[in-house]
């Protein structure tokens, strides 16, 4: 009997409590989110708490009171972040700013970042933004229009001017004429991925390091003659890497660089679809020719990145002699060749070969960059934050510190700009002082991707890379011309939604057929049929959308 009564009361109470909890949560949810996107446009200029009155370029920013800013940190697994890292202490010492980190794993960083911003829970400062990634947030007002505040950032303005990057910065502007991210400035920018060649083998077959794709073909033929079992050229990134850096010299875009699929035709003054222009066809024909003669390893054009080690394996077993990679890949190849017992080899990183459109490489690039969530704009320390970020991202002092550490303690710098890492310290990532006891990256937090490396002068960039890489930079700058960037064609919110649905099937068709044509699964005689298929997928409608946006931009912004 007692049992029964207790049960009855418990049950009634239970139901009520649940209802209350549900209602309460709903209210809380609605409440949290309603307050979200509004407020804070106007009063930014009042948000001067903690900022410096006389902050100028090339001076150290020091907040007039201790400040706390939140920062999104991407956690690379082999360089795990800790609060005790010296880099954060150093920042705090010089600027009086403490950084609260929110960590996200590298493996799914983009998704988590998206989630945090969408849920309205992201920290104020979001680093590691590449140009284009801010578009979806810009369109919906989730991030700050930083162009409004450029005047608070003297270092940024100084170096944009000095390194002639103003036009590129203007290309970041969205439909409303404002830009929403601040890019990392690079005095020199070279293609990250290019051809890596076995220089010793090239010399062995009596050839020279190629400067054009046609010359490369000759080299490959000679190598194949000597090593008939090999398919000397390989990509290793599903073909996306090689097509990317090749496309520029053929007068088109492809692979990773395909972007939204449009190519600006200077003569016609409008955007055309990259996959249907002459340059694209020539490029496909070129690679198909290589496949026909057994000069290209077809698997490397289809195996995913994870299987990129298959190319390394083939290189080590000497079935492949020329492959795509970045400067880090050189190291990988070297280790594999050593393990396979190959001696007297040299893996060289060469400038991307030229083609029918000339000795052209990708346009100059920004690197990394940051954006600020709307929440930051409402902070009373907003101006201080801008000044702080200007110092952190663009001042030479901060750049040196983020890369090399503390002058006098971890490194020394001579007047002519030579950086030397002190002997007790190592930077194993770049093979500097491998015997050093303390690694400035792993143990102290310097030279870390989220912050360092975004803005670099040429001198700084060359200071920590191997001489071979410096040679590579030189050869690209001397012998190659970057293509001009396309004029902007930013889409508004509604157009963005439409564009993604239109562009994806088109891109899928292009990806599938590019591979089919190259591998020979589809004869090149069907090229025109392929173009018709694309047109049947509303290609013209898509181009109209982009060109419309481009014309609108030109009208509004001269």
């Amino acid at each position: 009997m007692t049992q029964e009564t207790t049960v009855r009361t418990r049950r009634r109470f239970g139901r009520g409590a649940i209802a209350l909890a549900v209602a309460g949560t709903l209210v809380a949810l609605a409440g949290c989110t309603a307050g979200g996107a509004e407020g804070g446009e106007a009063a930014a200029s009042d948000a001067t708490a903690g900022s410096m009155e006389d902050y100028t370029a090339d001076t150290t920013f020091t907040a007039t009171e201790p400040l706390d800013f939140s920062l999104l940190w991407t956690d690379w697994p082999e360089v795990p972040v800790t609060d005790s890292w010296q880099v954060f202490d150093e920042i705090e010492k010089r600027t009086n700013v403490h950084l609260d980190l929110t960590n996200i794993p590298f493996s799914d960083a983009t998704e988590k970042r998206s989630l945090l911003i969408s849920a309205g829970d992201a920290p104020q400062i979001i680093p590691l933004v590449y140009t284009g990634e801010e578009k979806q947030f810009a369109a919906t007002g989730a991030v700050v229009a930083l162009s409004d505040y450029e005047d608070y950032m003297p270092n940024f303005q100084k170096y944009v001017k000095e390194w002639d990057l103003r036009e590129m910065v203007d290309n970041l502007r969205q439909d409303d004429g404002k830009y929403y991210m601040m890019p990392g400035l690079q005095e020199v920018s070279v293609p990250t991925f290019t051809l890596l060649v076995r220089k010793d083998v090239i010399e062995e077959v009596g050839a020279e390091v190629p400067e054009t794709w046609d010359e490369l073909r000759t080299v490959l033929e000679k190598i194949k003659a000597k090593y008939p079992d090999s398919a000397p050229l390989a990509d290793g990134f599903e073909g996306q890497s090689m097509l990317n850096y090749a496309a520029h010299s053929f007068g088109t875009v492809a692979g990773w660089g395909f972007g939204n699929g449009t190519f600006y035709n200077e003569d016609k003054g409008e955007f055309e679809y990259a996959a249907t222009n002459d340059g694209y066809k020539q490029m496909v024909e070129y690679f198909h020719g290589l496949v026909e003669d057994g000069l290209l390893d077809t698997e490397s054009f289809t195996a995913a990145v994870e299987g990129g080690s298959t190319v390394t394996e083939k290189l080590a077993s000497e079935k492949v002699f020329v492959a795509s990679g970045a400067n880090g890949t050189v190291q990988e190849f070297n280790t594999a060749l050593d393990a396979a017992g190959v001696t007297d080899y040299e893996v060289l990183q060469i400038a991307p070969p030229g083609g029918p459109a000339g000795q052209i490489v990708e346009p100059r690039n920004f690197w990394n960059g940051f954006m600020l969530t709307k929440e930051a704009e409402e902070s009373p320390n907003f101006i201080a934050m801008l000044q702080f970020l200007d110092w952190l991202y663009y001042s030479p002092e901060a750049r040196d510190m983020l890369r090399w550490g503390v002058e006098g303690e971890t490194f020394t710098k001579t007047d002519d700009g030579t950086y030397t890492l002190n002997p007790e310290y190592s930077l194993k990532a770049f093979n500097i002082n491998p015997e050093g006891k303390t690694d400035i990256q792993k143990d102290l937090g310097f030279s870390n991707d989220p912050l360092s490396g975004s803005t670099e002068s040429r001198a700084l960039k060359e200071s920590y890379n191997v001489p071979a890489f410096v040679d590579y930079i030189d050869s690209v700058l001397t012998n190659r011309t970057p293509r001009d960037p396309f004029p902007p064609a930013p889409l508004n919110e509604g157009e963005l939604e439409q564009a993604s649905l239109m562009a994806t099937p088109l891109k899928d068709s292009v990806d599938t057929n590019t591979l089919k044509f190259i591998l020979g699964d589809r004869p090149l005689s069907e090229w025109d049929a392929f173009v018709s298929e694309l047109e049947g997928q509303n290609l013209q409608g898509y181009l109209d959308l982009i060109n419309g946006a481009s014309e609108r931009w030109a009208e509004n912004n001269g």
């Binding site: 949560t25 690379w76 990145v305 393990a339």
Partner: protein, 323 residues
């Protein structure tokens, strides 16, 4: 004893027969001298097939273990097959000396133990209640559970919920979202439904209420399914990286699964910039670190199974019914 829900004649008679004749003789099924030759041939085939299946399954693991003892260059060069090349224990040393590894290991153990406990309590209780066919509103309960198998709020609403409940960066954020699997719930319910009713009726006569019946009669009889579900939940919590990924942003709290995913999947990228990031810093993830971490992650869960298996024995003395 599990009874077939379809009450065919022969089943009923067999059961009654057993009850009448008392405790069944404990003999191995089919373990009598009258095995046919055909059966023995079949047994032979059976064994061979199983060996082949095992070998095929074991091959990639053997390679993985070999890789964990090999040098990074050898792995990249594709030289490691079943045996290590460039045998070294360096990576094992490096990994086990890394306190992040041990911290995440400890986190995982904690999340798994607590999580399994919570999940088992919730699931068992609800499954038992749902298995009572006479219960009024039973179908409503089942409907409530099944509906959630198909409809969920999506990542952002779940995130906002956990965030509003202030559970972010706590152990509960990793445990609670996965604390009830409707799949497990329904399987358990199925098992409970097939427990012999006579035992419960007998217990009622003895004066036990539902709780008593549940605790003293149903649970002991359900060792196989409880053991199985404990195993399932443990594995689920052990391997779950997604909840940690969503709701934790202190690396101190990361479980091993997330740490591992960061390590392994971090090298699989589909965008140019991320690929560039991996390519430019020559601190590329070492294949042997991946292999070692994976091996170390799998070992504990493999040890759990033998413990669980001991409970896969029917634990019923049918004589209880008579008494």
């Amino acid at each position: 004893m599990i009874l077939d829900p379809v009450k065919t004649e022969e089943r009923e008679s067999a059961r009654t027969e057993t009850i009448v004749t008392g405790r069944p003789r404990r003999t191995r099924p089919g373990g009598l001298p009258q095995e046919s030759k055909g059966y023995r041939v079949y047994l032979g085939f059976n064994a061979v097939a199983l060996v082949v299946i095992s070998a095929v399954t074991l091959y990639p693991f053997a390679t993985l273990i070999a890789q964990s003892f090999s040098s990074s260059g050898a792995i990249k060069a594709g030289l490691v097959n079943l045996l290590p090349v460039g045998f070294n224990l360096d990576t094992y040393h490096a990994v086990t000396n890394d306190q992040h590894f041990w911290r995440s290991y400890g986190n995982t153990v904690m999340y798994t133990v607590v999580g399994t406990l919570v999940a088992m309590v919730l699931t068992t209780l609800l499954a038992y209640v749902m298995s009572k066919e006479h219960l009024r509103g039973r179908n409503v309960l089942i409907g409530i559970a099944v509906f959630t198998m198909f409809f969920n709020g999506g990542i952002i609403p779940n995130y906002v919920l956990i965030s509003s409940l202030e559970l972010k960066n706590t152990m509960w954020a990793v445990i609670l979202p996965g604390a009830m699997s409707v799949f497990n719930l329904l399987v358990m319910k199925s098992f409970f439904e097939n427990l012999p009713r006579e035992l419960e009726e007998a217990a009622r006569i003895d004066g036990l209420g539902w709780w008593g019946i549940f605790w003293r009669i149903a649970m002991p009889l359900s060792k196989p399914v409880i053991a199985t579900m404990t195993l399932f939940y443990s594995v689920q919590f052990w391997n779950d990286w997604f909840s940690a990924f969503l709701y934790l942003d202190q690396t101190d709290l990361y479980p091993l699964s997330l740490h591992l995913r960061n390590l392994i999947a971090g090298a699989t990228t589909t965008t140019a910039e991320s690929a560039a990031a991996v390519g430019t810093t020559s601190a590329a993830i070492k294949d042997n670190v991946k292999a070692v971490t994976m091996v170390l992650a799998i070992i504990p869960i493999l040890c759990v199974y033998p413990f669980v298996q001991r409970h896969f024995v029917s634990g019923v003395m049918l004589g209880a019914v008579k008494g």
